[in-house]
């Protein structure tokens, strides 16, 4: 038997040794994988395990200058359904019925949407109101995954829509203030880094790292919601009354460049926004800063200011208008073919005499006139905080194709294109004591903790002296109050202003018979608190700037200054 056992030992020794050797080989391999190469495998595990989600910070609100909310973000839910869970028909029916009952979506359509999808989670509803989503989640319908989101809501409805602008799905600003101050409003998005399973769902009890988002700042506009509403209503009414295609009203404080109201037509409206409509996408710019037009006679204010500032003329300087002036051999006529005889410079503005403007610009000369245009900010963006601002164009003596005729026509507002905000800004400099103020829409930024950063007013140039400015104010006062009826004269306040009527230039350099009319002015006369530019595009009734835009200006001055609690100062009132 011992013999037998010894034989067995010998026989068994072979497989035992072979298997033990193989086990040793495996042990070596375990050492290699689990100890030597542990770091590499751990890194590989992490790279496939770790996923991250962006956590958007609550976007800052946009408020009017007095703190009224114009745009704010409200909590909502984005609802998803996990396709894996709904693969079971009964579960899908249970889940879809619950979701349908809460959201009003169609249960059968939901099931079909999820069944047809190849995604892990299918988005079924965007921006569901917070309370609706919360109630739905409490019922725990199978397969429902809800991610918190925010939705932009507009407490003042469509007010100032083209100033505020819109945001996209990713909470980024696409136009207007939302775009310009996107970084400030957005804050810094946070991230959640978590461990996920192969379908991307977080692993329960897995490690989670959170980088907290930094909340965005609130924006306090210079816009006053009451003045904005007044301006928008006035613009809509004027457009209707005169059969215009569109228009703009700029209302700013000439002392500091703060825009109090900025109305444009056509404009986007939050309530009817539809970005699949190409026409609406085109409106994602504020036309008061992006659209160029020829200002016409409003430009005579600038020409006059330049000539006076250069000491070449005074308001009382006389010249004789024959209805036509020969400028380098080219005859230039007045609008309406009018002949005004002997006139002062004030008269030139009152009667809007083209030959008078040519008289002044001839004294100035091409170089000096161009220097004044530059000084008033023409041909360059004002720097207003809105997207797509146009710089405006005028031909300079140094440009190819310049002729002396350009100089003459520029003096009365042709052959030069401006934006409404640019024109308003230049006029502001002419009447506020000679300082070119950068127009701006934002007064202050308010951090979530309450810290407020006021944005300072910026002087971007001093085109004319305070004395010249005072002179211009009184000349423009005489335009509105010439001693006979003037439609642009406010009832309660002293004011100054100037109208413009210009044909619309065609791309080939000619003009068609449609017109853009405007009236720009300020009040009160001695210490301007408000500057208003009213512009109507292609008014069908072909009334002049004075007749069509003048009354709008007058009404707005009365309404705005009364609202701003400025004591009425018109003679009529004082006399009472």
């Amino acid at each position: 038997m011992a013999h037998q056992q010894a034989t067995r030992t010998l026989r068994v020794w072979l497989p035992a040794t072979a298997f033990a050797a193989f086990a040793l080989l495996i042990l070596g391999r375990l050492v290699q994988v689990q100890i030597v190469e542990h770091d590499r495998y751990a890194a590989e595990a992490r790279s496939s395990l770790l996923a991250s989600d962006t956590v958007f910070a609550r976007r800052g609100s946009i408020l009017d200058r007095n703190g009224f909310l114009l745009a704010m973000s409200a909590d909502t839910w984005d609802l998803y359904v996990s396709t894996r869970v709904w693969r079971d028909d009964e579960t899908a029916i249970e889940g879809s019925e619950a979701i349908a009952a809460a959201t009003g979506l169609d249960a059968a359509e939901l099931r079909e949407l999820v069944r047809a999808s190849e995604l892990v989670d299918v988005l079924i509803a965007h921006d569901v109101p917070y309370a609706t989503g919360r109630a739905l989640l409490d019922g725990r319908p199978p397969g429902l995954v809800a991610l918190p989101n925010t939705e932009r809501v507009y407490p003042a409805d469509d007010l100032a829509a083209s100033v505020i602008g819109i945001i996209g799905r990713e909470n980024t600003g696409l136009s207007g203030i939302e775009w310009w101050y996107d970084e400030e409003l957005q804050g810094v998005p946070g991230r959640v880094i978590f461990e996920r399973d192969t379908s991307g769902s977080p692993i329960p009890y897995g490690e989670t790292f959170t980088i907290e988002p930094v909340r965005g700042r609130d924006i306090v506009l210079t816009i006053d919601r009451r003045l904005q509403a007044t301006a928008e209503r006035a613009l809509t009414e004027a457009i209707a009354a005169h059969g215009a295609e569109g228009g703009a009203i700029v209302m700013l404080d000439p002392r500091n460049g703060e825009v109090l109201a900025l109305a444009t037509q056509p404009s986007i409206a939050f309530s009817t926004l539809d970005l699949s409509d190409h026409e609406q996408v085109r409106l994602l710019r504020n036309r008061a800063v992006t659209d160029l037009y020829e200002p016409g006679s409003v430009m005579k204010v600038i020409t006059t200011a330049a000539a006076i500032d250069a000491g070449l003329v005074s308001p009382a300087t006389e010249y004789v208008d024959t209805g036509v002036v020969s400028f380098y051999g080219i005859p230039i006529r007045n609008w309406n073919e009018g002949v005004h005889g002997a006139q002062t410079m004030t008269g030139v503005l009152q009667h809007s005499i083209n030959t008078g403007a040519v008289f002044m610009v001839e004294k100035l000369g091409a170089t000096r006139f161009q220097q004044y245009l530059d000084g008033f900010g023409f041909g360059q963006p004002t720097g207003i905080d809105l997207n797509g601002e146009a710089r405006g164009v005028f031909r300079r003596p140094s440009d190819a194709g310049w002729s002396p005729l350009d100089l003459a026509t520029q003096s009365f507002g042709q052959s030069i294109s401006v934006t409404p905000i640019q024109m308003a800004s230049a006029l502001g400099a002419a009447v506020n004591g000679g300082k070119l103020m950068q127009p701006r829409l934002v007064r202050a930024l308010v951090s979530p903790e309450g810290g407020r950063t006021d944005l300072p007013a910026r002087v971007t140039g001093r085109p004319v002296s305070p004395e010249t400015s005072a002179t211009i104010r009184h000349m423009l006062g005489a335009v509105i109050d010439p001693g006979w009826y003037h439609p642009g004269k406010p009832g309660l306040y002293t004011a100054g202003g100037k109208s413009g009527t210009a044909n619309v230039p065609l791309p080939d350099g000619g003009y068609d018979d449609t017109q853009i009319v405007s009236f720009a002015g300020f009040a009160p006369l001695d210490e301007p608190r408000i500057l208003i530019l009213v512009k109507l595009d292609r008014n069908a009734d072909l009334l002049t700037g004075t007749a069509a835009a003048g009354p709008v200006f007058a009404d707005l001055v009365d309404a705005a200054l009364a609202y701003l609690k400025t004591p009425p100062d018109a003679e009529r009132v004082e006399a009472r």
Binding site: A2, R8, L10, V12, R196
Partner: protein, 391 residues
Amino acid sequence: MSRTRRWAAEGPDYTLLALVAALTVTGLVFVYSASFVIGLAQFGDSHRFIVRQGAWALLGAALLLTMLRFDYHRLRRLAAPLMGVTLLLLLAVLALGNEAGGAQRWVSAGPLSFQPAEFAKLSVIVYLAAWLSSRGESLRSFEHGLAPFIVIISAIGLLLMLQPDFGTTAIILAITLTMFWVAGATLVQMGALLVSGTVVVISLALIEGYRMERLAAFFNAEADPLGHGFQTLQSLIALGNGGVTGLGLGASRGKFFYVPESHTDGIFAIIGEELGIVATGAVLLLFVTLMLRGYQVARRAPDQFGFLLATGITTWLTVQALVNIGGITRVIPLTGVPLPFLSYGGSALAAVMLAAGVLAGISRHAKVRESRREAAREERQGARVAGEARR
């Protein structure tokens, strides 16, 4: 010779039983850890798998205790009928089995479904032990040894390959070759078997496309990390991620659908991820110790049938464990075989516990030496006899 004979028909090999108990309990712990995610995801019940496995473990324990008391010699008479039943079951699987994972390996009977392949291994071992022990010296001849042996294993192998079950076939091949060898096969016979066996295995791998893909995945898993290489790579990542002491019990990441079959064939990877090389090394050590104890039981068996039976069972448990762990650690290609005692799978667990019971039963009949001196003498004598035999 007769001086040393003494039947110790008393206590079994308790070390062996302790090893089996340790492996089974470890298995239950990790089946729970590895399966609750899948149980929740697929059945909405994280306890689904552990409850079933627990029930099967109880059944397995009952089978083990039964076989412990059962005189293994009576198995000899059951060998032929058992083999017949096994062949019928294998045919039944082919005819009406459930298909799972592209292969028919299951038979359902009411609420139970089980894999005959696991019991087939035991039947084959019992049958071969009976047959080989009846051959005696004639085993060394061709017509009474090699030829009928080849016929027997070819028949079983064919039936298994039709399912198709490559892993089980390979393991049965290893078991039968080992048994043939310890039964006294000549080196020439073994050489011939090894060569032809290798040829068969390779050609089997060649005719089935998916086996080639698994082979390709073994050699170059990185070329197809999301396809055929996925299981190989994810198992390695889980193991490697565990490091020395692991992420902690229950903390595996791989079980979140990264490691395929995490609660069945892939459970070793989850063990490695949760408790590190401390646990994988321990499991490996448990299996090696089990092998040494098993072969010890074989050596001490009172007769040739017991010796072959114990050798067969030990070889089975060992080879299957090594094939599984070797696949997970990428020492050899992956074949879908469960890790004995540890993987989820009721019939497999019951089968290995039954086999362990048989093994422990044989240990109760072990022939133990009376003294150290006699043992030493025995060794010397054995060595001399062996030396003579070699000459």
